[in-house]
Every structure is written in structure tokens, then in C-alpha cells.
């Protein structure tokens, strides 16, 4: 939430002593006061004009450069704000507001990498500055440097335990770290019993007991001494109504030797719930076992963070967390309700509205999704994401004529958006503009997950009278479908849960 942070920065600067040199004269002082008055009145663009004059009149003054940069940023001219802020920082490297604003401006421009250095400096200069630390964590998360973001987020949560955003962000980072560790494990040893065990855990969480059962069995076959697996199988047997089978597996679990804590420190640490210790130790190692315990520890830490969030009064973050869980489990109606509750608490946050629109779209409530997206676009007419989403919804409502101008704009705003190109191509094709559809469909092909874009391309070539290319595209579609067709093992209910071997 940059707005609030910047407000704090503005307030602090307005009441800061003027950085004008004392000998600058009455006229400049009057202009400086005018600038401050305009800033206080929220007339940032006008203030920027005043500060430009002042900077021209008094070049090399870090305070004026800072004021100019701030005014430009607050009036939405972030690109223009960079130069004066960078100049101010160069002139006065320990100028905290300049570092803060540089970080904020770069974040707003989507340049997370450029935001890191100034924000790190801001945090060094003022370790208790929550805004600086929060923005730094945000930049690091944007760059997927979750391990670097974690200590900052942890400190934010510890120093303000009643801040829901702190726990939410911390929990999300732990989830991301668990995911990264799992990816490393898969890369090192894709057939690893440890990986199988982790996937089984995930399946069990989704209540896919049969799938989990077979995965645990495979893991046991490969690593019979791996503790916890027989216990997991026993739990599945119990839920399936087989206490006798469960007893067998529980006995096997008990029969496994206890871990030697002088050697198996990670396992012992996990069992003792010393998850942070496990993380610290495992992070220095590269073995599959280390990755395994990293995944499990990070998952536990995530659970703990979200539990802290859940214990706090309802907040935007708690609703967002629940909305995400519901959506991932295809409970779109419940998810939409949670997004709405989050929006009620933060009505000006466009991101929440976008998430609501996405959820409504997934739940096939196209008219409601359309309404929300139109609201977003009224407030932010140049949002490429909202434009692309609205175009997609209009296509779902079978209104390609209305979708076309929206999608044309989406593509103009974000030329790299493959979904926007794909949707625009489809819209053109639907209204008989096959030749115009073709280049967009071709561009979108890398995003073709189900072959439909390939098919649309073939049909567009056909309609445009390019029969030979239509034939090639259709062949491409058929080969794509063949390659992605499920094998016989995909059908049926899978192997049933069987008794202990």
C-alpha cells in the first residue's frame, strides 16, 4: 500500500526543516512555502511546477530535488521523478526520504530490482522504519528472492504481531520457499521417495486419499526406513474404515528405529518443532534430505503464520487468504464472498477487485465479472490486465463485437500479453475478420495449453482462404492433442486402497 506509506513520507517532509540554504532570498523562500502549501493541499502537479523552478534557481540542492521528486511521484509522474531523486541521493547519500522514495517510485514503475538497493539503504539508515522494510520485502518477493525477504517479513511480524498483513505476507513467503525447495528436490532426484512422500502429503491435504495411499506405498517400497510413511498409511486406513489394517501399519511405524539425533539432526529438529533451526541448517546443505526437511519445515512455518493471521480479527488479509484457499479448491462462490468482504474493508484496492473478477469468471458468473471489470476500468482505464480480462468475459458472454475494442486496447497496453492476443484473435475470428485474427493467434500459441488456439488458427486460415496453411495448422493441432492425450492409466477410479502387504 504505497499510498499510505507515501503519505507518511510527505507528512514527515512537510514538517522537516527547510533544506534551502539560508542566504537564498525572500522570493525563493516564498516559492518554497508555496510549494509546501500546494503539497499539503494535495495539489502535487502544481507543486511539481514550483519545485522545478526552485531546482532551476538553486541547482544542486538535495532538499529541493527531493521535494521535486516527491511532487512528481505523488502526481503520478514516476518516470520523471527518478532523476531528481537519484540526484538528491547522490548529493546526500544518507538522505532517508530520498532512499524511501526511490524505492517506492521504482516499485510503482515495476522495477523491483532497482528498488532493492535504495530500500536496503533506507532500512540500514532506520531499522525501525516499517514502511521501508515492508517495501523492501515487497521488492524482494517480486524478484522471487523469498529467502532474502523472509527475515524482513519475520521482523515485521514480530514487531507488530497484531498486523495481519505481516503474518499474511510471511505465510505466503514460507509457502513460496517450500515450493522452491520442492522444485530443487525434484530436480536433484525426481524419483526420490522423499518427493513421493511430499506429493502424497499434498494429496492427502486435498483429501485424495486413494492417490495419497498409492504414493506412500511407492515411497515405502523405495525407502522402507523412512519414518512417518507407515503412520500416514495407517491414518488413511482408519479413515477408510479399516482399523485392523491401520493397526498393522502403526506397528510397523513403531518398529522403525528412532532417529539418531547426533546424525539425523534435521529430522530430530523437525520432530521437536524447531523448524527455524531446521531451515537454517538445511539451507546450507544440498542433499535431497535437506530439501525434504526444508519443504516440511517451511510448510509448518507457513501454517503457523496463517494460524496467527486467523487468530486476529477479520482483516483484508484474512479474507484474502481464505479466498485463495477456496479458489484453489474450486469453491468459487465462497471465494467470491471472501473477496467481497476483503473489498468492504479496503474499497480502494483495485487488486482485490481484479481478484474478485477473476473468481467470478472462474465461477461462470460472467455478468457479475463484467460489472466488476467495468468498474475497475472506469477508475483505471489503462489497466492492461483488466482490459484483457474484460475482453475474455465479453467473449464468454458471446459478445465479440464489444470485446474487440477492449482487447485491442489490452494488446496496445501490453504487447507481450499472450492471453490478450489469443482472445483478440478469437474475437476477430468470431466476427469474420479471419485475416486479422491470424497474427494474434500465432503470437498467442506459446500460451496454448489445450490446443484450442491451434484449432482457431487452422479455422482462421481456412476462412481466409489459405487452405494449405489451414491444413498445416490442423495437423499441428492433431499432433498437439495426440501428445497431450491421457493414457489408459488416467481413466477409472485408480487402484483401490488395498490391505497391508
Amino acid at each position: 500500500m504505497l499510498g499510505a506509506r507515501l503519505l507518511v513520507a510527505v507528512v514527515s517532509l512537510l514538517f522537516a526543516p527547510s533544506l534551502l540554504l539560508p542566504s537564498q532570498g525572500d522570493e525563493l523562500a516564498a516559492q518554497s512555502r508555496r510549494g509546501k502549501d500546494l503539497m499539503a493541499a494535495g495539489r502535487y502537479a502544481e507543486a511539481a511546477v514550483v519545485y522545478r523552478e526552485l531546482v532551476k534557481a538553486v541547482p544542486g540542492n538535495p532538499g529541493l530535488l527531493l521535494d521535486l521528486g516527491m511532487a512528481l511521484h505523488l502526481s503520478g509522474q514516476d518516470q520523471e521523478a527518478l532523476a531528481p531523486l537519484q540526484a538528491a541521493e547522490r548529493l546526500q547519500p544518507r538522505l532517508l526520504p530520498a532512499a524511501l522514495l526511490l524505492g517506492a517510485v521504482n516499485l510503482r514503475l515495476g522495477r523491483a530490482a532497482a528498488a532493492v538497493a535504495p530500500l536496503q539503504k533506507a532500512v540500514r539508515l532506520q531499522p525501525d522504519n516499517r514502511e521501508a522494510r515492508s517495501m523492501l520485502a515487497e521488492a524482494l518477493v517480486d524478484l522471487e528472492r523469498y529467502a532474502d525477504a523472509e527475515p524482513h517479513l519475520r521482523r515485521l511480524a514480530q514487531t507488530a504481531p497484531s498486523d495481519p498483513a505481516a503474518w499474511f505476507n510471511l505465510g505466503k513467503v514460507y509457502e513460496a520457499l517450500a515450493g522452491q525447495a520442492f522444485e530443487r528436490l525434484l530436480k536433484r532426484d525426481p524419483e526420490s521417495p522423499l518427493a513421493l512422500a511430499l506429493v502424497a502429503d499434498a494429496r492427502l491435504k486435498q483429501d485424495q486419499r486413494t492417490a495419497a495411499f498409492h504414493l506412500y506405498r511407492q515411497a515405502i517400497d523405495r525407502a522402507p526406513g523412512l519414518r512417518g510413511l507407515h503412520g500416514a498409511v495407517a491414518a488413511i486406513y482408519r479413515r477408510a474404515g479399516h482399523p485392523d489394517w491401520a493397526a498393522v501399519e502403526e506397528e510397523r511405524e513403531r518398529g522403525l528405529p528412532r532417529p539418531d539425533c547426533s546424525r539425523e539432526t534435521l529430522e530430530c529438529g523437525f520432530a521437536a518443532a524447531r523448524h527455524r533451526e531446521v531451515v537454517a541448517s538445511a539451507s546450507k546443505l544440498s542433499s535431497p534430505e535437506a530439501c525434504y526437511w526444508l519443504v516440511r519445515s517451511y510448510n509448518e512455518l507457513a501454517v503457523q503464520a496463517f494460524a496467527r493471521l486467523a487468530a486476529l480479527p477479520a482483516s483484508v488479509e484474512s479474507h484474502e487468504w481464505l479466498a485463495g484457499i477456496h479458489r484453489s479448491e474450486r469453491r468459487y462462490l465462497e471465494s467470491a464472498e471472501e473477496w467481497r468482504q476483503a473489498m468492504a474493508l479496503a474499497p480502494r484496492d483495485p487488486r482485490l477487485k481484479t481478484e474478485l473478477a477473476i473468481t467470478l469468471r472462474l465461477g461462470r458468473d460472467f455478468p457479475a465479472a463484467r460489472q466488476v471489470l467495468e468498474e475497475i476500468l472506469r477508475a483505471e482505464p489503462d489497466s492492461p490486465e483488466a482490459s484483457a480480462l474484460l475482453g475474455d468475459v465479453l467473449l464468454a458472454l458471446e459478445e465479440p463485437e464489444r470485446a474487440i475494442p477492449v482487447l485491442e486496447k489490452a494488446v496496445r497496453l501490453d504487447e507481450k500479453s499472450l492471453p490478450a492476443h489469443g482472445a483478440l484473435g478469437r474475437a476477430y475470428a468470431l466476427v469474420g475478420r479471419a485475416s486479422e485474427a491470424i497474427p494474434h493467434l500465432r503470437q498467442a500459441l506459446p500460451a496454448d495449453t489445450d490446443g484450442s488456439l491451434r484449432y482457431q488458427l487452422a479455422r482462421s486460415y481456412q476462412a481466409a482462404g489459405q487452405a494449405e496453411l489451414a491444413g498445416i495448422a490442423l495437423k499441428d493441432y492433431e499432433e498437439f492433442k495426440k501428445a497431450s492425450s491421457p493414457g489408459p492409466e488416467a481413466y477409472g477410479q485408480g487402484a483401490p486402497i488395498t490391505p497391508p502387504r
Binding site: 483429501d207 479448491e329 474450486r330 469453491r331 468459487y332 462462490l333 467470478l360 472462474l362 465461477g363 461462470r364 458468473d365 460472467f366 455478468p367 457479475a368 463484467r370 467495468e374 476500468l377 474484460l390 467473449l395 464468454a396 458472454l397 458471446e398 459478445e399 465479440p400 464489444r402 474487440i404 475494442p405 477492449v406 485491442e408 486496447k409 496496445r412 478469437r426 475470428a429 468470431l430 466476427v431 469474420g432 489445450d450 490446443g451 484450442s452 488456439l453 491451434r454 484449432y455 482457431q456 479455422r459 481456412q462 476462412a463 490442423l474 493441432y477 492433431e478 491421457p486 489408459p488 488416467a490 481413466y491 477409472g492 477410479q493 485408480g494
Partner: protein
Amino acid sequence: MSSRPAVLAVLAALELARAPGPAPPSPGVPPILLKDVAREAGIDFVHQNCPTPRKHLIETMPGGVAVFDYDGDGRPDVFFTNGATIPSLEKDAPRYFNRLFRNDGGMKFTDVTDAAGLRGAGYSMAAAVGDYDNDGAPDLFVGGVHRQALYRNDGGRFEDVTEKAGLQSGQWVVGAGWFDYDNDGRLDLLVVNYTVWTADYDRFCGDSSRNIRVYCHPKWFPPVSLSLYRNRGDGTFEDVSARSGIAQPQARGMAVAFADYDQDGRVDAYVTDDKLPSLLFHNQGDGTFREVGLLSGVSLPEHGQEISAMGADFRDYDNDGLPDIQVTALAGESFPLYRNLGKGLFQDVTHRSRLGPLVAARSGWSNGLFDFDNDGWKDLFTADSHVNDEIERFESSAYRLPNSIFRNMGDGTFSDASAGSGLDAGPPRVHRGAGFADFDGDGRIDVVVSALQGPAELWWNRSPASGHWLAVRLIGTKSNRDGIGAAVRVTAVADPRWRQQYDHMTTAVGYASSSCGPVHFGLGAARSVDELEIRWPSGTVQVLKDVTADQILAVRERQ
């Protein structure tokens, strides 16, 4: 088209501010009016699909209906397939019997199931009517779960001749249709099989955290081969599934519809497919078929995504002489309309026909292109409901729905004529099969619809000021007795809204259902037809001139 993006963006913004809605009815166009008279008519059938907590997939798929004049009295009768107890799949109580209702005239019906010998056995799903032995009495094929039966009509009493005919099968049948693929004057049978399923199938599908179990998505079930049986002419059939090429593509087949789409004198077959590309079998004329769905453009809607294709009708909706294909599907998938362009190619005109936005939120099963207001243009009726009885707990779609009717505007587009038609007067139901016929002989097409766990509906067409009509009952001599496969063209200059109309004789229409009636034409203002042309499957062409309207005309194939 303007090339000024800014202007377009502003226009788009203004357009977007308006809420979308159905196109208003054209002024001066009389409404299509339908009234459910099932109860008064004596049709008291309630489909029993035996829903279970385990949500067996077969429970949501049945409901086929057949309409045919079983006793030759000139009035179409109604046959309903019915379910059975699960898991035994036996009709162990009368409430599971298939039922036949005789049309007594005056929109009154009598249950004659027992007298006709049509209680059936097993979990029945589909019905297909065809006079396979050319004795003048329409016979009945009933397909179901792991069982199919052929009933020979012996003067109003039916005999199960399945074994004699060589038609035993353990497949799960959801559709079937009769057509003469080799033009030998005898009807052959294409059977639509869905998947492999047994009663001990127990995959949990749904949301376990809320303990909501739903019918499993078709992706969990393997596709299987279709079946084709060649009529030997001696009461037996030969399984030519593999030899003909029909069995080659694997499908989760749903419905079949027939037409000679390329007008080469050989009837072709279109089979809808559940979450797989639908199939168009081109009749090669040498006993084999070539699957050309993708090439022709009828396998998938224009967006290229596989849909839950349900019912099909293969008829000329735009009076250009070429049979088109209309398909139903689930909410959000649209009901594709493929216009026949000739030369073996079709175009998805769902959007251009304005059908797209009208059906975006609807889910449909059985469908039929028939002229309900007799203005010379075939309209579209769909029997609607979703497949998932818990859908409302997951997304913004409805399970129970009223049926729909879309008026053909005669300019390539359709308008929604459902509101005010009477279809929304009763409670929404879980509609499945539909049969089309003029039950009271007044020249207006009526519809009978089945509903799972609900009473069947008999929609009596009361459309006021509907135009003149002509029903052509074909009697084949060299061709099959029903005249199935015959192409019929009527020409009249008296009504400027249409000059020529085309149809063909088929009994395969909709989902799991069959309608064996005369070929019906609405004639609008024309009190007579200048020319009636029949192209029989045998190759004989018969032309009748100055045919008076408002009659059922029996035409025997010239020898």
C-alpha cells in the same frame, strides 16, 4: 469499420455501460405458444433414474423418448425409456418400466405398455424408431446400460428379437439411429456407445471438505468405439463396426443424427462427443466411412475447446438446400450451429446467428429444428437442464431449467422466443429427451419431453395465426419403407419469405430420442406447394405439382 481506436474505445465504453439482454421480439410477429397438457392428456410418466449418494454416472444420462405411430392409426404415440434399480440394473418395480402411451386423438393418451409388451429390461436410456423389416409397422430399438434390445412390431404388439437379430451387446448405449447406409433398401443401425462403466465404480468427485459429491467429469471415463449393424434383410444384422470404419475413432458418444451433407446420394452420420471432438462420418459409398469432423469444421466450436456435446439435429435451417448441424451443450459452452457451406465444409455460425448470447447461460440435452410457427423457417427447441445436480453450490449455473425455443428469423439469425411462450410457466425441471410430432393433427408441431425424477411434459402447440403447412408421409417401396434418407424439397412462390425449403426423412433427432413422423413443412401464406420433390434413397426422383396445403400427404415411392 472505423480505424480510430480512441473513438472505438469510447464507443465501447458507452456500449459496456448498457446491460445486455435478449433481443426484443420483432413487432408484429405472432408468438410461439406452448402449453403443457401432459396431465390432462393422461401421460403420467415420471422418469425414475434411481439417484444414489454414490452419484453413479448413469443416473444423470437417461431419458430418451420416441415418438411414432406404433399402431398405424395415423396418430403419433409416445414411448418413454426408463431407469432401473442401481446396482442391480433391473427393472424390479413397475415404476421403472419403460412406457408406451397410445394417442387416442384429441390430445388424449392411454398407457398400453403391457399390451404392447414394452416394459423393457435393464437400465434403459435411448430409443430409435425404424421399420427395419419393411413390413409397414415401425419397430423399436432400445439401448441402455450393458444391454440393448430390438423390438419387432407385430401389429401393435412388440417382440424382443434381439438375440435372433444378433444384436446382443454389453456396451453402455446412450443413443442410436436408423439409416440405410448402403442404399439396399433396408435400414441399418448405428449405436452410440458412451464409455466403460460398472456399478462398483467408486471414484469420489466433488468437494470432500464440504462432503459434496458430484457426478464425475467424463475425463475419468475412457472413450469407446461406436457400433454399426448392417441389416441383412432376413431379420438379422451383421456387426460391421470395424470393417466400416465406424469403430475406429474412440468416442464418448452421445447422440447421432443423419443427413447427406454433401449430396452425393449417400447418407452420412454425425455423432456428438462428450468433452472430445464430435465426429462426422462421410459415407464413402463402398461400405466404409471416413471420419472428417475436424476437416469439415464440425468437431469443435470455433473456439476450439472440447465441449460436453449432447443432442444433435442435422437439418437445413437456412433453406439453402444444405443440411446444417445444431448441437446442445452445457452452460458456458454455447450450443454450436454449424452452417453447411457446401463442398464438405461447415462454418460455426453460433455467434453470427445470434444464438450464441441467447444460450450462453443455458444447458441443453435434446434438441430439434422444426417449424413451430409454420412460417417456412425451422425454429429450434431445446430440452434444458444441467448435468450436475450440485452445480449451484460451485458456480453461477442452474441445474433445473425451463425448456427453450428460438425463433428462426429467416435471415440467418434466431431470436429467443422462450419468454412468453408458456415454456417458463411451469417449474424448471431436469429435462432430457424430446420427441417432436403433430399429436393432434392440426398442422402444428408439438413436443413431448422427459424429466429426471419429474413428470413428462407434453407441450401442445397453440401458436396463434401460424401459417399453412404440409406433412409428407413417405412410403418407400424400393427404398426402405420409412423413406429414411429421402430428401424432400418444397417450392412455393406464394410466400415471399421463403421460396424453397428442404428437409429429409430421419427419425434420429435430439438426445437419446427418436421422432418418426411425416416430414413437416410450415408454408406460411402459401395455400399450396407449387412443387414437391422427393429424392428417394434408391435414386428415384418423384415430383408432385400443385399440392394443397394443410394436409398429411402420403407419397408412395414410384416403382
